[in-house]
Assembly symmetry: C2
């Protein structure tokens, strides 16, 4: 690698600021959790312009860190996303086992969603943002980070986003007029993409187990599917289907302490199995999504 500095010199000599605009790189996180049978997303209220007072996905520029030995190193995109999420939730980053392209951060799962880089998406300068998707069971009440006036879990159905049916009909991913919490930048679009990814991932991955506790009942797992998909599922068939998929769930050999709040027997407890993909998949019932 002795040619590195030489190559770098040539690169910088060739670098034409007019042809290669200065670009900022940020990460944004669509963090989802389920609270009170509703799907919630973590939002922060911006304290500074642009879009001051508007709500936004937690995120920020990728940074250079200095370790204990005084050496500088740059964070990966995923580390940046985990950091941004931790800054808003106080979660400790537990460098867990990577599996299925997901990395654990405590019990939070992170995966890359997509990258958004339209030239005018940030009025300050050209900013390309790499969006990540995070799923968590129950998370601490968020606290506002340094550059945020507030942080909160917000039910996604209060944001006036278009439904999946609207989107396939060609609707733009913008909020309905009159929605109280208006999102900054193109974050409505990013959030819509994240929600569709989450809905889709429930079909063919065991992702739903990331929304519940370590031990859970089949009914709790079904609630996750019903909440994220926004439709009721047939309980007996759901149970049979889940248990028939190899590696999805494994019996924990115990039951809940009590039955349902309004009666009913105690439920058996399960924990996540070792499957990374569900075969066969749990497919949503197709409406007219396929048409056109």
């Amino acid at each position: 690698m002795t040619e590195r500095s030489e190559a770098e010199e040539r690169f910088l000599a060739d670098y034409d600021p007019a042809a290669y605009p200065r670009v900022g790189v940020t990460v944004d996180v669509v963090a989802l959790t389920i609270l009170d049978r509703r799907l919630n997303v973590l939002l922060v209220q911006r304290a500074e312009p642009p879009f001051a007072d508007r709500w936004a996905l937690p995120g920020g520029f990728i940074k250079t860190h200095t370790d204990s030995a005084g050496r500088q190193y740059e964070e990966t995109l995923e580390q940046a996303a985990a950091r941004e999420l931790a800054e808003e939730t106080g979660l400790l980053a537990d460098n867990g086992h990577p599996e299925a392209g997901l990395k654990s951060l405590g019990r939070v799962y992170l995966e890359q969603l997509a990258t958004y880089g339209d030239p005018d998406r940030d009025p300050r300068m050209r900013v390309v943002t790499v969006a990540y998707l995070a799923f968590a069971p129950e998370l601490p009440t968020p606290r506002a980070g340094s550059d945020a006036a507030a942080a909160a879990w917000v039910p996604v159905d209060e944001l006036g986003l278009p439904s999946p049916a609207d989107l396939v009909a060609g609707r733009r991913a913008t909020q309905r007029p009159g929605t109280s919490r208006r999102l900054a930048f193109d974050h409505a679009r990013i959030l819509v993409d994240g929600l569709e990814r989450a809905r889709s991932k429930l079909e063919y991955t065991p992702l739903a187990t990331a929304f519940v506790d370590q031990d859970f009942t089949i009914g709790e797992l079904r609630e996750v599917y019903e909440t994220v998909w926004g439709e009721r599922l047939h309980a007996p068939n759901f149970r049979r289907k889940v248990l028939s998929v190899p590696g999805f769930v494994e019996s924990a050999g115990a039951t809940t302490e009590r039955g349902g709040a309004r009666g009913g027997p105690r439920s058996q407890l399960y924990h996540a199995g070792d499957a990374r993909l569900l075969h066969p998949a749990l497919l949503r019932s197709a409406t007219e999504e396929q048409i056109r």
Copy 2:
């Protein structure tokens, strides 16, 4: 937007070069086509360091253009990907109808794949690359662009990449030792991700029709699936399945001029229907992919 310059000033005042490293943004394209029943990827041979003489995915930095009125404007990420692809193939960018998240460039389909930004992936500086995936039926013989010594369609099975089975077993996405065309940067990883995305997309989208001519036979469509998936399919069942999926293919009301080269009747011709998703999907037979 009168506050734009003010906000920009504040932003730049806050900008700490040590905390926010200078980042380059590039796009890379995994362009796939089928030649002689083999899946091929478009590669260019690098003329300059780093990785001089090594082969790489076509790509480069996002640029600022000057239009006929002398105004400068920046390209979107997707426009940059289309430009990089056009530079190597001579294809004209036909601003076609956007559908299913795909944009047409002539008869080429482009979709975003993923973004790669590990700090050391480019020895020159921090470079974040947004990878795109392109599919095309038959494409012109590539010509080397400005910074490339050569450009060629290369059968992916000559690149010594790990098989899908290797990958689920935890293999890194690197090339086998002794492979003649060694890929630069982390392009082996990007290519492997692109191939898996392509294989997966054949299952639940009508993407396969992007690999064949406007009018095609069911046999030609089956060849696409067999080539991309790398497995033989049962011809009668494939035909029945394809015809049963609403909106996948529609009869063109004609047959081929001649039968098969070695005999056989003339085939009926079809063209792509209006479906954006296949319901029910054409699923690959699951091996042990789901395990672990």
